[in-house]
Symmetry: C2
Subunit: 268 residues, 2 copies
């Protein structure tokens, strides 16, 4: 079974056998991390990129009042801040929510993957943009949606994302997070989250059993939340259509540029 990181990238660009092999090599060095550990801490200069192979993690910011705000979820197959090394230090942290199996990848390897494998580079860019789109959707949601719809929207989003990596069966998925964590995500108090979840259960939209979540009526839940999956860019064909592929082009142009230099200097 291929790992979920590769599976996820294949949704965004078609990968060759060589691409896949390179990715397998890059993610071969895995480590087990317990729950509630920081992979990268705020104000660090990041040293490694990480890919989550199993478990849930999140990007979060610590607040002046001691609380925390969760700004993104990392699910199996997600890389975290693969590109973070461009900025000198982190302004947020990455922490595990559950025990995780993660691959630690030196930035050097990321660079090499990007350089030798245009398809991988393209898939990574795609991921960055989708992450940003999710952020936008959250920003809109936190500001404008009432608490119940906001929570429902989040549940829909997680379902679609988990579905894309095969972690949803029969409208049901494990959501191994506490109500407090959900509160830190939605910008609500944990008390209010509790009440909202009760309402969703009463409406027979969801069912909960020990960290598992059962979606009883996904269509009704999506309607209720006003959820439209566009922004996740999952069903738009990924790398399998003929749309613009800037990174491949950039690679070609960079080659041409360097060749031009060489012609002038006449070296080898």
């Amino acid at each position: 079974m291929t790992n979920l990181f590769i599976r996820k990238l294949e949704l965004r660009a078609s990968l060759s056998e060589a691409d896949r092999h390179a990715l397998e090599q890059a993610t071969a060095k895995v480590m087990q991390v317990e729950a509630n550990r920081d992979l990268i801490a705020q104000a660090d200069a990041p040293e490694h990129a990480f890919v989550i192979l199993e478990g849930f993690a999140c990007r979060y910011k610590l607040l002046p009042d001691g609380g925390r705000s969760i700004v993104a979820y990392l699910i199996p197959g997600d890389g975290c801040d693969l590109h973070a090394s461009i900025l000198p230090r982190m302004v947020h942290s990455i922490g595990t929510l559950t025990p995780c199996l993660v691959a630690r990848i030196p930035y050097q390897t990321i660079k090499e993957l990007a350089a030798y494998h245009p398809n991988i580079y393209k898939a990574l860019w795609w991921s960055v943009l989708v992450d940003e789109a999710i952020l936008l959707e959250w920003l809109v949601g936190v500001g404008r949606r009432p608490a119940d719809k906001q929570v429902a929207h989040f549940l829909c989003e997680m379902m679609v994302r988990l579905q894309a990596v095969g972690l949803v069966a029969e409208n049901s998925y494990r959501l191994p997070i506490t109500q407090s964590e959900l509160a830190d995500t939605a910008g609500l108090s944990h008390v209010h989250v509790n009440r909202v979840l009760q309402d969703l259960r009463k409406e027979r939209l969801i069912e909960q059993k020990r960290r598992g979540l059962l979606i009883l009526d996904i269509e009704r839940l999506k309607t209720f939340a006003g959820f439209v999956a566009d922004y996740l860019h999952l069903n738009t064909g990924g790398g399998h259509q003929g749309f613009y592929e800037p990174l491949t082009d950039v690679a070609k142009l960079q080659l041409k540029a360097r060749q031009g230099e060489q012609d002038q200097t006449g070296s080898a």
Copy 2:
């Protein structure tokens, strides 16, 4: 006087004379756009990249209820979605808030700039990451900060950003947006924004006069808002320090990769 796009990029990477020349060429084709016009509309397949040379624009999302949520401000010197072409369609719009002078750049040109000018590529990446950092900060703010601090925080952020491109004089800057737009930004009702601004004036933190904003006590305002400018990555040295420069490296590696291919095929 160099244009502000170049000035802004120079904060992020040191540019050579050739880099600057290429950027000047790329942004030579300018157009005047009136206020409240879309540069790119939601659901479009983007066709051109834009750079704002004068005026204010924003990224916004239309809401199901007909309202809109402003998720980012574009100030002079900012590019908008220079990389948007990777995703097949926009999930948000770009619109002007004031009359703007914009440069329209074909994606092809962006690709060429990125390919032939590693420093420019690096600066563009830097911009993408800073934009994302701003988004994170907003997400936290909308969720957790009370309305008055949220508005104050926004005013601090705009001041620092405008300062970086020389548009702040004597703690004073023009903020040419309506209270309704500010409300769409902060996720508040326009009525409440009005009251919050009145409070800030009563506290003698700011003064307003026809679309101009005067910061009376920037230190007190920052303290009040809990504003810390880290996340804008403005004073961290930009391209003038010896930290990691992945894009330059990627260019080099890509060259090596292609040369390897050529060696094998033996083609000229």
